[in-house]
């Protein structure tokens, strides 16, 4: 087939240049926006984290970062530690689930909050709703197991989101175990 002018104009090279330029321009715009918003986003995230901690341990008057443990905070009331708020992470159905867990000094979970997740809307994201969350309150690490049969002792999985339920429970269990060890050390 002869190379006419039209075909010349659509050569792989020209098409490639066109796409490359579009992507270059796009990445420049995104990089510029990110440079402006990233520091502000980091600041808002810290504020939100503080609010989240406060929501988990309502009695707390102040939070103190624990040295040597990144992201760990002690909830203080009248100068005494009443609970620990620690981050927990677990692999969910569609990516990492980041959580914040409040654990009492005797190693029992108080409450948790999901900071970010990528679970299915309408199924997995129900792990953040009170109906599922309140099952956890007051349980020690050994009772944090997902079961299919309803029982007060363990955690009942969300309908249609077993993987998410297991992931959330596993992440929290690990956090609770860590805190229990840490708190026991502290008491000695």
């Amino acid at each position: 087939m002869a190379h006419d002018a039209h075909e010349e104009n659509n050569s792989v090279f020209k098409v490639g240049i066109n796409l490359t330029l579009a992507c270059l321009l796009s990445s420049a715009v995104i990089a510029g926006t990110y440079a402006v918003t990233a520091p502000i986003a980091a600041k808002t995230r810290i504020q939100l984290d503080n609010q989240a901690r406060k929501a988990l341990v309502a009695d707390a008057q102040d939070f103190k970062a624990i040295e040597g443990k990144t992201g760990w905070y002690a909830a203080l009331k009248d100068g005494k530690v009443i609970a620990y708020v620690v981050p927990a992470e677990s692999k969910g159905y569609a990516g990492a689930i980041k959580m914040l867990t409040a654990v009492s000094v005797d190693g029992k979970i108080i409450d948790y909050a999901i900071l970010s997740h990528k679970e299915t809307p309408g199924l997995g994201d129900k792990a953040d709703k009170p109906a599922f969350r309140k099952q956890f309150a007051g349980k020690a690490a050994e009772n944090l197991e997902v079961v299919k049969v309803p029982s007060d002792k363990n955690i009942q999985a969300l309908t249609g989101a077993t993987i998410t339920s297991r992931a959330v429970t596993k992440g929290i269990k690990e956090a609770v175990e860590e805190v229990a060890v840490f708190a026991a050390d502290k008491k000695k």
Binding site: L19, A22, S26, I30, T33, T37, I40, T44, P121, G122
Partner: protein
């Protein structure tokens, strides 16, 4: 002037993205269980579609026809990313509610459709109006569906109780089937009105002849 107004206006009723073109029904189901989310989603889409129409229109002479769709998608993806970064920094509450859906805006058929059908062939200002009109039609439809669903499914509007405590909410309206029911009824009524208007036009032309 009249032409420009028509470019804007057609997105609201004659070519309403959801009720007439039946495009982008996924968000119309997923994010309309309460008014607040529907409004935020509608405005986000309105922003993306308008901005993308302007960008596509500005660059329409330089985009190689062979790769126009990848270029448009790149443009949409860029705008959506910018929107996500901005919301994350300045409106974290809205971001938290919507972040699961925001990425999906990239693949909304209506945005690519407007770029391809209108912005690629028209100057910047009409393309801007086209995007604004289509976006407004989309946002309006979203809010309308959400008002119906939240009102009957939860007894509230924007989280404020409307019917009082004695109202027993019809849970089905909040669940996905409720979305299907509302959208179906709306498409039906838009079609009825469209038919009626077409008949009127015909009758008018008949009497003119």
């Amino acid at each position: 002037m009249k032409n420009l107004w028509e470019i804007f206006y057609k997105g609201l009723f004659d070519q309403n993205p959801i009720f007439r073109l039946a495009l982008s029904l996924c968000p119309a189901l997923a994010v309309t269980s309460n008014v607040y989310n529907a409004l935020a989603m509608g405005l986000s889409v309105m922003f993306v579609i308008t901005a993308n129409n302007v960008v596509v229109s500005i660059f329409r002479k330089w985009v190689n026809p062979k790769v126009r769709v990848p270029v448009y998608i790149t443009s949409i993806a860029t705008i959506v990313t910018v929107l996500i970064l901005t919301l994350q920094a300045y409106l974290p509450d809205i971001y938290k509610e919507l972040y699961l859906y925001l990425n999906l805006i990239v693949v909304f058929a209506i945005i690519l459709a407007r770029a391809e059908v209108f912005a690629a062939k028209n100057p910047v200002f009409p393309s801007f109006l086209d995007g604004l009109g289509m976006g407004a039609g989309f946002a309006g439809a979203m809010v309308f569906i959400a008002v119906v669903r939240e009102l009957f499914g939860n007894g509230t509007l924007m989280g404020m109780p409307v019917f009082g405590a004695s109202y027993d909410p019809a849970l089905i309206m909040i669940l996905p089937p409720g979305g299907f029911i509302v959208i179906g009824l709306m498409i039906a009524s838009f079609n009825l009105i469209g038919q009626h208007q077409a008949k009127l036009k015909e009758a008018k032309q008949g009497s003119d002849a």
